[in-house]
Symmetry: C2
Subunit: 270 residues, 2 copies
C-alpha cells in the first residue's frame, strides 16, 4: 500500500482533463485507469447515450454525451477510442475548444487522418494490447506508442502515458504499421493456430485441455529464448515423412492443409 | 512439506524398475522425475557413454550403458526416449529380459514400430510437452498419452504415469496422430508466427519487448475463452483495406506475404 501511494505521488506531477470518444473495449478499460492515475474524465461520447453511460458509470465524474459539440468542454485532451473506420468521420465532425489535443488509439491509422479536424494539435496514443470489456487490463504492463508532429504535444502525451505505464515509445507512423503487422502475426495468427488445433481435436473427439500445458510452455520458451531457438517439431527437423503424413491427414480441410504446407515450408527455409 | 509427503505416500503403491534408452531432452527431464516419484532407474543407454552419464549423473543409482544387451537388467519397463527415426533400430537391436515392457515416448510413431522387438509387451508412454535440457518441467502439469494392446500393460503404464501427473489419457494411435497435428499448429506454428513478428520488428529496428504483453494476453484469453471468441484484428473484422495494405508491406518477403494472405483468408472464412 505504501508503494502504491508513493507511485501515485510520483506520477501526480501533471494531471489532465480528458474527454473520451467511444464506448468500446479500449474506452471501457482506459477511462477508469486514467481516473485512477489522477486525471479527470470530463465527458464520454458515444453515438447512443446508453453506451456512453456504460463508461461514465465506471468513473467518478464523466458526463455522457451523444453529440460531438465539445466547444464548451473543459477537456484539454480528446481521446478517440473508436474503430478505425469511424476515426475520419468523428475527426471531421467534432467541434473542439481552442488549444485542444485530439488523439486516436489505433495501431493502423496514420496521423494524417486527423488533418482536417478542428483540433489545434493532433497525435496518436496507441496502447498496444488486446482489450475486452469485462476483462480488466493492468495498464502498467501495456506499452504506449505515441506520435505527434508537435513536440510539446508529444511531451504531454508522454506524460499522460507515463502516468499509466512505464513503457512508452515515440513511434513514427511507418514503424507503427510494421509493428501492427508484427502484432497480427504474433497475436491474431498465433490465436488462429490455436483455433485450428481446437478444430482438429474436436473433430476427433479429443479433449483440448490436453494441449494447454504444451501451449503455455511453448509461448513461455519462445518469449524467453526467442522463437528461433525455441522451435521444435517436424518442420525444423526436416522430417518430410511426418509432414507428408500430416498433410494427407488434413486433406479433409483444404485451408488447413495449405496452411500446414506453407508454414512448414517457411520453417524449413528459415 | 506435509502435503508433499502425503502425495509421495499416496503415489507409492506401485514402484517400477525402469531403464531409460536415450539421453536427450525427454530423458534429461524424465529420469529424475521418475526417481522423485519413487521408481528406480536401473540403466541409462546412449550410443556414447558420456551422454548416458549426463543422465545418470542426475539420478541416484542408474548405470550408464552404450550397448543394447539388457538381458541381465532388473528393469521391468524400458522407456525409449529417442528421436523418432531411431525407434525402429533400437527396438530391433535391443535384447530384453523375459516379461519386459518396451515403450516409446513419441507423439507421431505408431505402436506397430515395436512389433519386431524382443519385448514381451509393448506400449506408448507419450508426455505431451516440449522438453529442453536445462529447463526443468513440472511433470504434474504434463498430460501423458498412453497406449498398449495388452490391458495389463496399459494399467501399469497408467500407474506409472499417474505417479508423475494427474493427467493421463488412453489414446489410440490414430487419435494420437490427430493430436500431434493439433500440437504442431498450436505449438510449432504459433511459435513460428512469433518468429515472423520478431523479424518484421527487427527489420524496422523496433524493440520486440513491446509485443510481449500483447502475446501473453492473447494466449491467456485464447486458452480461457476459446480461440474463436478471443480472435481480434483486421481479418475477423473483414477489414480488407488494412489487409491489402499489410500484404503490400510484406512484399519484400514472399513467404511472409503468402502466409499473411492464406491465414487471413482462413480467418475470414471461418
Amino acid at each position: 500500500m505504501a508503494f502504491t501511494f508513493w507511485r501515485k505521488l510520483r506520477t501526480s506531477t501533471m494531471k489532465f482533463k480528458i474527454a473520451i470518444l467511444g464506448a468500446g473495449n479500449v474506452a471501457w478499460n482506459l477511462a477508469p485507469a486514467l481516473e485512477d492515475a489522477g486525471h479527470v474524465i470530463t465527458e464520454v461520447y458515444a453515438r447512443d447515450i446508453a453506451s456512453a453511460e456504460q463508461i461514465t458509470d465506471r468513473v467518478y465524474a464523466g458526463e455522457p454525451k451523444d453529440d460531438l459539440d465539445f466547444s464548451a468542454s473543459e477537456a484539454e485532451i480528446f481521446i478517440m477510442a473508436v474503430k478505425d473506420s469511424a476515426i475520419l468521420e468523428i475527426a471531421d465532425e467534432i467541434i473542439l475548444p481552442e488549444e485542444s489535443i485530439l488523439v486516436h488509439t489505433s495501431g493502423s491509422v496514420g496521423l494524417d487522418m486527423l488533418n482536417y479536424s478542428s483540433a489545434t494539435y493532433t497525435g496518436i496514443f496507441y496502447p498496444l494490447q488486446s482489450f475486452t470489456k469485462g476483462r480488466k487490463i493492468e495498464f502498467d504492463e501495456v506499452p504506449f506508442l505515441l506520435e505527434s508532429d508537435d513536440e510539446e504535444t508529444l511531451q504531454k502525451l508522454k506524460k499522460l502515458a507515463k502516468s499509466l505505464s512505464p513503457m512508452t515509445y515515440a513511434v513514427r507512423s511507418k514503424d507503427r504499421k510494421a509493428m501492427h503487422i508484427a502484432a497480427v502475426f504474433a497475436s491474431n495468427f498465433s490465436n488462429h493456430m490455436i483455433r485450428i488445433a481446437e478444430e482438429v481435436m474436436a473433430r476427433q473427439g479429443l479433449d483440448f485441455e490436453m494441449l494447454k500445458p504444451l501451449i503455455i510452455e511453448t509461448i513461455s520458451k519462445s518469449l524467453q529464448l526467442g522463437a528461433k531457438a525455441a522451435q521444435t517439431g517436424p518442420a525444423i527437423r526436416e522430417d518430410y515423412e511426418t509432414m507428408e503424413d500430416h498433410y494427407r491427414f488434413l486433406s479433409y480441410n483444404e485451408g488447413f492443409a495449405e496452411i500446414y504446407r506453407l508454414i512448414s515450408q517457411d520453417i524449413v527455409d528459415s
